[in-house]
């Protein structure tokens, strides 16, 4: 449900009651489906009023040295994307590092930030092995202004605090999926409870080979990537 009087969008506002009972919310991103369009990133900015220059969600290119550039030599090229937001780790180094418990793990597994308590020391950003957190180096500027954007009612952040993906905790609290999940035009993002063996995320992880980023760091990310059907290596089968 959006604010009173606002339009209700069928896809965006579909309630999933299971999310309210979840104990370890996680995400599965299908590398076979992702087309690297950045719609998730834009939707995230809109939903969460993320300031200019800040990104809670970025789409990394798995390929060459630059964005959208494949690896390999023509015609043996390889390219895929790794849509990356906070991994809401099961062993989150940021939570350990925060000196004032401003970043903490919620009972449903979401790692979130209390913007009213953060002192802006940025130790959590140092502790994150993925650079998935961003800092308000200035008073955040929204363009277009948040007031013009119909969806999203996340409280504004002051300058000088750290922010990051919250799995849209304000939506999850109402049983709604995160905005990036509903916005993805190819359905590459699946959201659900990793502790529930019958959830779609658990089923996909059983049926398809997957990976997490930097498993050797022991952070146990809750965002998993489903591998492409054919291995993506330069010179490999297309």
């Amino acid at each position: 449900m959006t604010a009173e009087g606002a339009t209700t969008y069928p896809g965006i506002d579909e309630v999933h009651p299971d999310l309210l009972k979840a104990t370890r919310l996680g995400m599965v991103i299908d590398q076979q489906k992702c087309i690297g369009c950045w719609t998730c990133s834009v939707a995230c900015k809109e939903e969460n009023d993320v300031g200019i220059g800040l990104y809670w969600l970025r789409v990394l290119t798995v390929g060459g040295d630059n964005i959208d550039v494949p690896s390999g030599t023509f015609p043996d090229l390889a390219l895929e994307y790794q849509s990356t937001n906070c991994f809401h780790c099961d062993n989150p180094p940021c939570v350990k590092a925060c000196p004032v418990s401003a970043t903490y793990k919620m009972p449903n597994g979401i790692v979130t930030v209390n913007w009213d308590r953060c002192i802006g020391c940025r130790y959590c950003m140092v502790a994150c092995p993925y650079d998935n957190r961003v800092f308000n180096w200035r008073k955040p500027v929204q363009d277009p202004p948040a007031s013009l954007v119909e969806v999203g009612n996340v409280p504004p952040r002051p300058k000088g605090v750290v922010e990051k993906c919250t799995f849209c905790e304000h939506r999850v609290a109402k049983g709604l999926e995160p905005r990036c999940v509903v916005a993805c035009p190819v359905g590459a993002r699946v959201f659900g409870d990793l502790d529930d063996p019958n959830s779609e995320v658990s089923t996909l992880l059983r049926e398809r080979p997957s990976y997490v980023v930097f498993p050797e760091k022991g952070t146990k990310p809750s965002v998993h990537y489903l591998m492409r059907f054919s291995p993506n290596v330069a010179g490999g089968e297309s």
């Binding site: 590092a97 308590r117 802006g120 092995p129 650079d131 800092f135 000088g160």
Partner: protein
């Protein structure tokens, strides 16, 4: 004393007080500039620094580490001299303790401009999270600050009381028996102060060394390396300050002590060099081309590491201080100390900038920087950090405050030990 020489001394005193006044005015001016820029930073936010989401920490944290090291080093030198009965340290023990106190107080202040929300700094005490090494550091720094202040008071209170100064804080007894009691108390306190000084810099090292996120930092060598670099920089600063303060006749010691301290500096520098070598070899040997230690020798960080940190900061001071003939010349000892101080500052800088410079996930376009860029991408795979003018002015202001506090301390506190009184022989050691 003849009238002529009394006149000469009088003129020199007047010259000294004029010089002191000019020195204080310069320090206050730099401090005022620093505070002014800090207020500007508070209004504009940390965007006026050159830190961004890629190089998340910069000159403020580099200087914070440096100050903690200077303090720990000073106190370790002072208290180990006390504990192990190195009598020849006596003339500089009070000076070293004063240096340690000022440095740790300034380290605590230095954290503040780095905070995005300095107005919420009390959250560190209202909502402490005891798993965070930063809370360990806050705790140990405050304990250590109280310890240092106690030390300064214990060392000077009888002499202050003899002068009738209120700074004696209620102490009236100036008898030899009372002095002997204080002597024993400082000895006992040294048993606490020495481990506390080692701990304060070890915990600062753990802020970095316990983070698995940064390969360049995640190493068990960090605390020993930090403690050693603290010894190098702390001793070097004590040497320089002792030579300066001696010129103004606030303390007295002979040049034998200077050459003895120079020898100690050579040993500390050698250990520091060994630990740096261990660290670099372990990073380099496996041949992982993405390892941060590869950046130490070539490219943009080469001059800072090989040139400043290793050559100017370790090799040259070691060579200078390894020869007894050079150690006997206070000017050479002072030169080696200045170089060592610069080298350790470079070490702190290299640690931060190389440790954070590269985006951990090396996939294009990299890490978002956090502010829109006038030209080029809002993301970066790796970043060059050099502090902005604003950062430099704020840090200069903090150093000016440190110098101000130290100068006041030197002028107000009796730094001369009784029995090491006037004159000061110039015997060669």
């Amino acid at each position: 004393m003849s009238a002529a020489s009394a006149e000469h001394v009088g003129a020199r005193r007047a010259g000294t007080s004029r010089g002191l006044a000019a020195w204080l005015i310069v320090l206050v001016a730099v401090l005022a500039a620093g505070v002014g820029v800090w207020i500007y930073q508070y209004i504009r936010g940390l965007q006026i620094t050159h830190m961004r989401d890629n190089v998340i920490w910069g000159l403020y944290i580099i200087t914070f580490m440096y100050l903690v090291g200077l303090s720990a080093g000073g106190l370790i030198v002072a208290s180990s001299g006390r504990l192990f009965g190195v009598e020849r340290f006596k003339p500089i023990v009070r000076l070293a303790v004063l240096e340690a106190t000022v440095a740790i107080a300034m380290a605590a202040v230095m954290i503040l401009p780095d905070l995005g929300r300095v107005d919420r700094v009390l959250n560190l005490f209202i909502h402490p999270h005891f798993l965070s090494p930063m809370i360990w550091d806050v705790t140990v720094i405050l304990i250590y600050l109280v310890l240092s202040l106690t030390y300064v008071w214990l060392y000077t209170r009888r002499d202050l009381a003899a002068r009738g100064s209120w700074l004696a804080l209620g102490t009236r007894d100036t008898s030899e028996a009372a002095r002997a009691r204080d002597e024993r108390t400082t000895y006992r306190l040294a048993w606490v102060a020495l481990p506390a000084a080692v701990l304060v810099h070890s915990i600062t090292a753990w802020i970095f060394g316990l983070q698995i996120s940064r390969g360049f930092w995640y190493s068990s060598i960090m605390p020993p390396l930090f403690v050693t670099s603290a010894l190098v920089s702390g001793l070097a600063l004590v040497i320089i300050l002792a030579l300066v303060v001696r010129r103004f006749e606030r303390i007295s010691f002979d040049n034998g002590l200077v050459s003895y301290l120079g020898g100690m500096l050579a040993v500390f520098v050698a250990v520091e060099g060994f630990l740096v070598f261990c660290e670099v070899l372990a990073g380099y040997y496996p041949g992982v081309t993405t390892d941060a230690s590869r950046q130490l020798f070539t490219g943009r960080y080469g001059p800072g590491f090989l040139g400043v940190e290793v050559t100017a900061g370790l090799i040259v001071p070691f060579i200078l201080m390894a020869f007894a003939s050079l150690r006997r010349r206070p000017a050479i000892v002072a030169l080696a100390s200045v170089l060592a101080l610069i080298g350790i500052y470079a070490h702190r800088g290299n640690l931060i900038v190389i440790g954070l410079g590269k985006a951990p996930i090396q996939l294009a376009p990299g890490t978002p920087l956090g502010t829109p860029q006038a030209s080029g991408s809002d993301f970066a795979m790796s970043s060059v950090y050099f502090p902005s003018g604003y950062e430099i002015v704020i840090v200069a202001g903090m150093f000016a405050l440190a110098a101000l506090l130290f100068t006041i301390g030197v002028w107000v506190l009796p730094l001369k030990e009784k029995g090491h009184g006037a004159g000061g022989s110039q015997a060669d050691g």
